[in-house]
């Protein structure tokens, strides 16, 4: 059920984000979504990419530091209260969210929220038992390519 996420270390200075994007484009690799967390000094770029193995390979070849982490993608209705429902479940289980970000597809009325949990397996179980749709990678990229 878990999705592979690519994370990269970048210095917080002009032009740093464009470089990995250019490398991926040159290798015809498509980014489904991304999020950037930054501090005063550095940033961590997180990417969701279907062919993450190839992306990792080309980025590492260019000298970037790339880590693969497992995240959880859930589908919520793109309307008020959608996220709140999920957070309530997580809170009740006493689980920790390290970070999260969201995106929507071109079509449809659903949004996808990507979570990084400290205990992803417990989180998946809890969410599914409450009827939340947790996407595996096949489902995720199918929807993306629709």
């Amino acid at each position: 059920m878990k999705i592979q996420q690519i994370s990269m270390f970048l210095e917080n200075k002009p032009g740093r984000i464009s470089e990995p994007c250019k490398i991926l484009a040159a290798n015809n690799i498509n980014i489904l979504t991304l999020s950037l967390a930054d501090t005063q000094q550095f940033g961590i770029l997180r990417l969701i990419i279907q062919d993450w193995q190839k992306a990792k390979e080309v980025l590492e070849r260019e000298g970037f530091i790339v880590n693969i982490t497992e995240v959880v993608a859930t589908e919520v209705e793109d309307k008020p209260g959608g996220l709140a429902k999920i957070l309530e479940i997580i809170e009740k289980e006493g689980l920790n969210i390290e970070y999260m970000y969201a995106f929507t597809f071109r079509s449809g009325d659903k949004a996808v929220i990507v979570f990084r949990f400290d205990q992803p397996d417990l989180a998946i179980k809890a969410l599914q038992s409450k009827g939340i749709n947790v996407l595996d990678s096949v489902q995720l990229y199918d929807k993306a390519n629709q």
Partner: protein
């Protein structure tokens, strides 16, 4: 544990004279100091005149009660040297403590005062077992703060070896203890526990360190904390008391029996008063400590209200010292906080945040002691126009608050930025401080 250092030794014969004899000396010295301040310090002349009391009205120790009180505010109003009773070129040293506003409260010493001070510190250091051959690590801050210097000169007087480690950098403190093998540790009690804890975290058993005993002060602590320190570090832990307005550390200190701090009555008269009525409490009852200095040249002080709450024990001590003893301080009669040995007033935090643009004038101070070291959290609200989606900007706003507070109080605090209007607004007196520490 080596029991040898704790044999009973007396540094100064003045500690064991008959109380009646000491009272005669006290009265003589009191008359002198009252006359001197009346004639040399305009502040005291005015405050005596306001109460229509003259130096010649002091004919017994009880007459002390005719004299006006001195409070911290008076020291601030007379900043920098308005209360000094000697010509400026007679001053050897300036020290200070934090005031409630930007100006510190400063005190001054002549060479003779420094001599007196060193001797008083030597008294309680020896009472706790200090010998010439001991190594002493002083992990108090040096500087304007009196803690480091008071003890430093006391140890020097006894002739033991000083390792002037000063405060901070705990990992380095532990390295020094391991390598230089001091017998004695001098710092705040919470810092002693912090050293023990951090040693453990790095795989060092604190009991196996060379330390035999420690003299701790500068903040309030409890009997439980003493047990904790003694167990964790495998040492004897002694309490001492002092404040820079009176002289610094050395006003009182424990002997090896650890049952109350011997007050250096030949240099200070201590009263214990009900903070509301300002009448003396019964012996053994808690009250506010009020000190009058008898021998200080540069900065004599009359009936100084310390705001510290403790009680006095007049029963004889088996160690042979004939002075009265005071209990540990169990609280304050004002809102001052003591964080890691540093005095902090909520008004200082307020002053700091008012100087940072983007921060609303509301705050909450939470003090905790998660492990052994005090932690202070200051929660402040961001003003609506200053919220940024850039984490880096928010971090630098937080850092500005942090630095300002550090500049004013000298403390490293944790600052938490809150969205506008999240702190509770009370209609009456705002509750600015939540102290989660268990001290008394």
């Amino acid at each position: 544990m080596n029991s040898l250092p704790f044999e009973n030794r007396i540094w100064d014969p003045a500690e064991t004279i008959k109380p009646e004899e000491r009272q005669i000396i006290q009265l003589e010295l009191l008359k002198k100091v009252v006359e001197r301040v009346y004639n040399t310090v305009p502040f005291y002349k005015t405050s005596f005149d306001n109460l229509k009391v003259k130096p010649e009205d002091i004919n017994s120790l009880d007459d002390l009660r005719k004299l006006p009180f001195t409070v911290k505010e008076n020291l601030r109003q007379n900043y920098p040297l308005g209360l000094v009773a000697v010509p400026k070129d007679g001053l050897a040293r300036i020290h200070g403590s934090s005031g409630t506003t930007g100006k510190p409260v400063l005190v001054a010493y002549t060479h003779k005062d420094l001599e007196t001070w060193a001797n008083l510190c030597a008294r309680f250091l020896v009472a706790g077992g200090l010998r010439k051959e001991h190594f002493v690590q002083i992990s108090f801050g040096y500087g304007l703060f009196t803690g480091g210097f008071g003890l430093h000169y006391g140890v020097e007087k006894v002739g033991a070896t000083i390792i002037p480690a000063a405060s901070g950098n705990t990992a380095r403190q532990i390295l020094l203890i391991q390598d230089l093998k001091p017998d004695v540790l001098i710092c705040t009690p919470s810092y002693a526990l912090n050293i023990a804890e951090q040693a453990k975290q790095t795989g060092i058993e604190p009991k196996d360190l060379s330390l035999k005993y420690g003299h701790f002060g500068g903040e309030m602590w409890t009997e439980d904390m003493r047990k904790e320190i003694e167990e964790q570090l495998g040492i004897k832990a002694f309490n001492n008391y002092g404040l820079s307005e009176v002289i610094g550390p050395g006003v009182s200190g424990e002997c090896y029996l650890q049952n109350g701090m011997h007050i250096q009555e030949d240099h200070f008269i201590l009263e214990c008063l009900n903070p509301s009525t300002l009448e003396p409490v019964k012996e053994g009852e808690y009250g506010e400590l009020v000190f009058t200095s008898l021998t200080k040249e540069a900065f004599p002080i009359i009936r100084y209200r310390t705001r510290d709450l403790a009680y006095i024990d007049d029963s004889p001590c088996p160690c042979g010292r004939t002075t009265k003893r005071m209990s540990r301080v169990k609280g304050r009669s004002d809102d001052m906080l003591i964080i890691r040995g540093v005095n902090v007033f909520p008004s200082q935090i307020e002053e700091a945040i008012l100087q940072v643009s983007g921060i609303a004038p509301h705050y909450l101070i939470e003090v905790t002691r998660p492990g052994v070291l005090d932690e202070i959290f200051v929660k402040v609200e961001i003003q609506p126009g200053y919220i940024s989606d850039k984490m880096s900007e928010m971090q630098s706003l937080r850092d500005r608050v942090l630095r300002k507070i550090n500049e004013i109080t000298g403390l490293h605090v944790n600052v938490e930025l809150l969205p506008p209007n999240t702190l509770e607004r009370s209609t009456g007196k705002a509750c600015r401080v939540i102290d989660h520490r268990k001290i008394s």
